[in-house]
Amino acid sequence: MEFHKILVPVIGSQADEETIKLACRLARQDKSEVRAIYIITMTRDLPLDAESEAEIQKAEDTLNHIETVAEQENYRIDTDVLQAREAGPTIVDEAVEREVDLILIGVVYKRRFGEFSLGEVAPYVLKNAPCRVILYHQYSDESAV
């Protein structure tokens, strides 16, 4: 299986580090392009092009950390910040526009109404992605319960 363009959405969670390491390892063989994106989701009470210094700083810090992790893996990655209403459709749009052939998405253990939940973004991407998707689930003590 060959991947030439890998898209990795990051959100500043515990799963980011391992997801990007995995992307770098997968990419190395075919010298693929790895692009990490951070999506700032703007609530509907603000215009879509409103600038939030705190959110941009959080995005920048997350991407800087991700770049350091990639550097430790000896792989160079590209990073981008996008601003949108919803993360799921934005990831899919980005994959279409950039002709991505793999989306690597990391999730951490979450509960909703007492049940394990994947959230909204990962299922949307799994359902609508125009390419292969690898879901990386971050192991935690809680998920082992």
């Binding site: 600038e51 950390h65 350091t68 430790q72 981008d80 996008l82 601003q83 949108a84 980005e94």
Partner: protein
């Protein structure tokens, strides 16, 4: 590392001297023959005459093989263009000093439709990996000091969980006591002692002297309690007089206002007074001479909780800080441009709030380190540095006891953060992969420290 510095002003010169001291290969590009002569006569670096914002000069400086370009000329635009061209030529990392706050470096790009995602255009998009605004950093430092209990700077590591703080020894109970006899109430390390401008690596039989500056490494929650052992806490400032209506003065005033602190600015230039008054509605702006004792008394300086001198002249700042101290103001902070003047200011009893070249150096220090360094602070002027590393599973230091890792002479492991818990490591403590390790060491042994994390 091969590093090119564009601009040999005060900031460029001091960064070049710092990097040369750390044994990096440094080239300085400068348009002024006079400034370049100053570099040639004092530093062992390559010097190139010319405009760094041109491909020809950057090629001459071998930008394509540069690991880092630091553009610190007086012009924001020149700095940005230099970074852009250098990046296009193949330089790995670029840093630009940008003083105009209007250039935040970020803007939201256009979208295909009203509901389509917007791209956030970042400085990286046009070839600048890091924007540095020393004036903003200086203002932040002033605000941080004035809103805390001690008149000395603090450095944060591991997302603020660990702090390194400088305290001036004021308590008589601590004076002339060997370190081995001092029992501190909480886990901490005395990382260094600054005495008469010289730095001492503490040993067990070292005696603490009055007016020494000690650097403590501890968990943030214990820092105030530990500080009380050495220094007299002061109440955070409620009224502040700032001398100088320049960029730093105005930014500091804006920030202090935000903390509910009453601010008065003294500025000599009448036109600048009017500009500042128009910008800062809640701040009293008065025109006058900061070295005129009667004028300072008339303006209520003796009643202020703190006096901050932020003019562009080191001499004026030191003199006015001394005058304010003489008038009974308990906290006197000044801004210093030339790091060589710091010992002089401290010798006359004025607290140095910030030094622009050192603040700039601190911001870029992380980029010249290897081994997964995440943050760096320069302590004691620029004599030692504290570096925070994340220990990777393959690092030499991982899974080893501190005593066995072979820390270079003068270096100590100040603190380790393991799963959000701060540990002051004993010799038999084993470093785990993923731990954040804060190492304090002289600049000269930095390469040896980096190797432990590679």
């Amino acid at each position: 590392m091969y590093i090119i510095i564009a601009g040999a002003g005060v900031v460029g010169f001091h960064i070049a001297s710092l990097l040369a001291e750390e044994k990096h290969e440094v080239a300085v590009v400068e348009q002024s023959e006079e400034a370049l002569d100053n570099v040639r006569s004092q530093l062992d670096v390559t010097s190139i005459l010319g405009n760094a914002a041109t491909p020809k000069v950057l090629r001459e400086a071998e930008a394509p093989r540069a690991d880092l370009i630091i553009a610190v000329t007086n012009s924001d635009e020149t700095n940005m263009i230099t970074c852009f061209i250098a990046k296009e030529l193949g330089a790995s990392m670029t840093v630009a000093r940008v003083r105009n706050p209007e250039y935040s470096g970020y803007f939201i790009g256009a979208a295909k439709s009203l509901t389509a995602p917007r791209k956030v255009v970042r400085p990286k998009t046009f070839g600048v990996d890091l924007f540095i605004n020393p004036e903003v950093e200086a203002a932040k430092e002033i605000i941080s000091i004035l809103s805390s209990f001690y008149p000395t700077p603090v450095e944060n590591f591991a997302d603020g969980v660990v702090q390194i703080r400088e305290f001036r020894v004021e308590r008589e109970t601590m004076v002339d006591k060997p370190l081995s006899e001092i029992t501190l109430p909480k886990p901490c390390v005395i990382a260094a002692i600054l005495r008469a401008g010289g730095l001492i690596t503490p040993s067990a039989d070292e005696l603490i002297k009055q007016d020494d500056h000690v650097y403590l490494v501890a968990s943030r929650e214990f820092m105030n309690e530990l500080g009380e052992m050495f220094a007299q806490p002061q109440r955070p400032a409620k009224s502040v007089v700032i001398l100088g209506g320049g960029r730093v003065g105005v930014l500091a005033a804006e920030g202090l206002q935000g903390h509910g602190i009453s601010v008065k600015i003294i500025e000599k230039n009448i036109n600048r007074c009017q500009e500042v008054a128009a910008r800062l509605e809640q701040t009293a702006v008065v025109q006058g001479d900061g070295t005129d004792r009667d004028f300072l008394i008339e303006q209520g300086v003796p009643l202020a909780d703190a006096f901050v001198a932020t003019t562009e002249s080191d001499e004026l700042n030191i003199l006015s800080g001394l005058l304010a101290k003489n008038l009974g103001v308990s906290r006197n902070l000044i801004l210093i441009t030339r790091p060589a003047n710091i010992p002089l200011a401290e010798a006359v009893g004025v607290d140095v709030a910030a030094s622009l070249p050192l603040l700039t150096a601190r911001k870029i220090a992380r980029f010249v380190l290897h081994g997964g360094a995440v943050s760096v602070a320069l302590l004691g002027g620029k004599q030692i540095q504290a570096i925070e590393f994340v220990a990777s599973p393959t690092a030499h230091i991982a899974q080893r006891k501190i005593a066995e890792v072979g820390l270079p002479k003068g270096a100590i492991a100040g603190a380790i953060v393991h799963n959000s818990t701060v540990v002051i490591p004993a010799d038999d403590h084993v470093v785990q992969p993923g731990d954040r390790v804060i190492i304090i060491s002289p600049l000269s042994v930095t390469p040896a420290v980096e190797k432990l994390f590679m």
